[in-house]
Amino acid sequence: MANATVTQTPLGKAAQRQDTLYSIAWRHFRKHRPAMAGLVVLSLLVLSTIVVPIVTNYDPGKTHILDKYLAPSIEHPMGTDGLGRDILVRSMDGGRISLLVGLSAMLLAITIGTGIGAMAGFYGGMVDNLLMRLADIMLTIPTLFLAIVLIQLLRAGVIPFLSAGIAPIVFVIAITSWMPAARLVRAAYLSIKQKEFIEAARSAGAKNGRLILRHILPNAMSPIIVAATLRVGAAIITEAGLSFLGMGVQPPTATWGNMLTNAQSEMDYAPWTAIFPGLFLFITVIAFNYIGDGLRDALDPHHVQ
């Protein structure tokens, strides 16, 4: 085994800096202005969802019925809802849940998708056929229809540990959205497994499990990272959509989606209840999508010299 220091040759600064794929990618990513803006906005937003509920005088869950439907003012910058709760504080408190649901659902969906895609791409043949037909079948049922059926099933307690809190919605989003990632990972595995270094590792005695996880996976990471980033935005929208329909995270726990549930009946006299939670949702999704876009450019092999 060659030691990293041994391979270093004094060819000037560039070679000594030990350029990894990721350090090169980061240099490119920094130049992608919308992506950097997305990163900054998202960091600020995440920070606010943690800090604002702590420092504010308003309890996000406590109702003040006399203060209902107050228009935005200095006291309540985004107004209050039908139970007199401050919308800014509630949006921050709920935003934490929405982000948590989005990130967990993405992690689960990407893990399932990567697992299935890796199996299909690596083993090929019958395994590939079976798994990809499964993905095709999942894509034949409209995702929201499937999600609604599944979430009712889970909320009724069919699987005990997935029946309450954010667990059912995280599971449902993941189970209805792993297919694109699986196809992507399958394609990457199909091409990488043909490479010579895999042949070399195999002849050195590496078992299939080791080839899949240690040799191919790191080389298939770029498309997975990009898909994962874009998946977060999609997962947050799905959570909000299901919660908006009353099928997601249940009140009194706030999320950007369920804060909008009553908005349609209130917008004649309190449009701010509809505008602000959705605005945070929109900004977050744009930020994630721009970051994903920047990562796609930065991790593009054509960029890496």
């Binding site: 049922i141 409209p142 059926v149 009712q152 307690g157 909000a240 004649d268 449009p271 509809a274 959705g278």
Partner: protein
């Protein structure tokens, strides 16, 4: 080509079969069933409930239930709704045209608007127009569709008034919203002309449904066009002295539309998702709203019917997209 279409149609049968087994199982293991609503009804005794359960075959083993459902369905009997007691096919038959009417208009409109915008944006890459288009398209792709719908209603239905209220075009006296916030036609007095009324009611829900597709199509059309414009045959066409219009519309456009066709096929299921939100918000009597209401009530004969019909439609439209694909790119041969 005919052979290919026949083969695809035959292949769809096992897929639909597996979808039906999957969905049937999911719906059947759900404790939500239409009889649970009757448990609190004082006019129904527990004995009645047991009798009903026996009659409907609620306690049969799952495979027995499935075989019963399948044999009836194949004979064209899709069962009755547990809520309205009308045949499932009648229920769906009333709603499906409304959904197709709304989504096909949105679909065509998104395509017709997106293609020229994408082409111009690519031809004038890095111009002000291009920057504007790419930014707006990016936002359109990120906007939560139901929130966009809420904002549309707030602006165009709650805040803006119809300046033509009281005129022959809109006989209803002011105040009248610029665009209605729900329904397919005017149900109150003084409706506008039927055609005007229909279009007037379509504008907001169609905008809501089309925004995502529009943004997506613009991005793909632009990217496809940029790729093609770099190719050698475009340079050849230009060096032959062909006019720029002929190069762009005669040579580049058809090739650049190929990636768009792929994405259209992938987006078809999303039309059904969008329909749930759009129809719920705009009280549009379509499949999406029927599905949502049936899911809430555990009306599973209707749920099964909607899921099977939407799966069939998705397979069908995917096939149409693949045929269009072969039409655009003669190198693709399906036999």
């Amino acid at each position: 080509m005919t052979q290919y279409i026949i083969r695809r149609l035959v292949q769809a049968i096992p897929v639909l079969f597996i979808v039906s087994v999957l969905v049937f199982t999911l719906i059947q293991i759900s404790p939500n069933n239409p009889l649970s609503a009757m448990q609190n009804n004082p006019n129904i005794t527990p004995e009645d409930l047991l009798r009903l359960e026996r009659e409907y075959g609620f306690n049969d083993p799952l495979p027995v239930k499935y075989v019963k459902w399948l044999s009836q369905t194949l004979q064209g009997n899709w069962g009755d709704s547990f809520v309205t007691h009308r045949p499932v096919l009648t229920e769906i038959g009333e709603r499906l045209p409304n959904t197709l009417y709304l989504s096909l208009i949105a679909f065509v409109l998104a395509l017709v608007i997106a293609i020229p915008i994408g082409v111009i944006s690519a031809v004038r890459q890095y111009s002000l127009f291009d920057h504007l288009v790419t930014t707006i398209a990016f936002m359109g792709q990120s906007i939560p569709i139901f929130w966009f719908g809420l904002i549309l209603i707030i602006i165009f239905s709650v805040n803006l008034q119809n300046p033509l209220a009281g005129t022959p075009l809109f006989p209803h006296p002011a105040p009248l919203p610029l665009f209605p916030g729900g329904g397919m036609t005017t149900l109150t007095d003084n409706p506008p002309e039927p055609l005007v009324d229909r279009i007037w009611h379509l504008i907001l829900p169609v905008s809501m449904l089309a925004v995502f597709q529009l943004a997506q199509h613009v991005r793909y059309m632009r990217a496809g066009m940029l790729d093609i414009l770099k190719m050698d045959f475009i340079r050849t066409a230009r060096s032959k002295g062909l006019r720029e219009r002929a190069v762009i519309y005669g040579h580049a456009f058809k090739n650049a539309a190929i990636p768009l066709t792929t994405i259209i096929a992938l987006e078809i299921p999303a039309l059904f998702n969008g329909a749930v939100f759009t129809e719920t918000m705009f009280s549009w009597p379509g499949m999406g709203r029927l599905f949502f209401n049936s899911a809430e009530r555990g009306d599973y004969t209707v749920l099964m019917g909607i899921l099977m019909i939407s799966a069939t439609l998705i397979i069908f439209f995917n096939l149409v997209a693949d045929i269009a694909y072969a039409f655009l790119d003669p190198r693709i041969r399906y036999d």
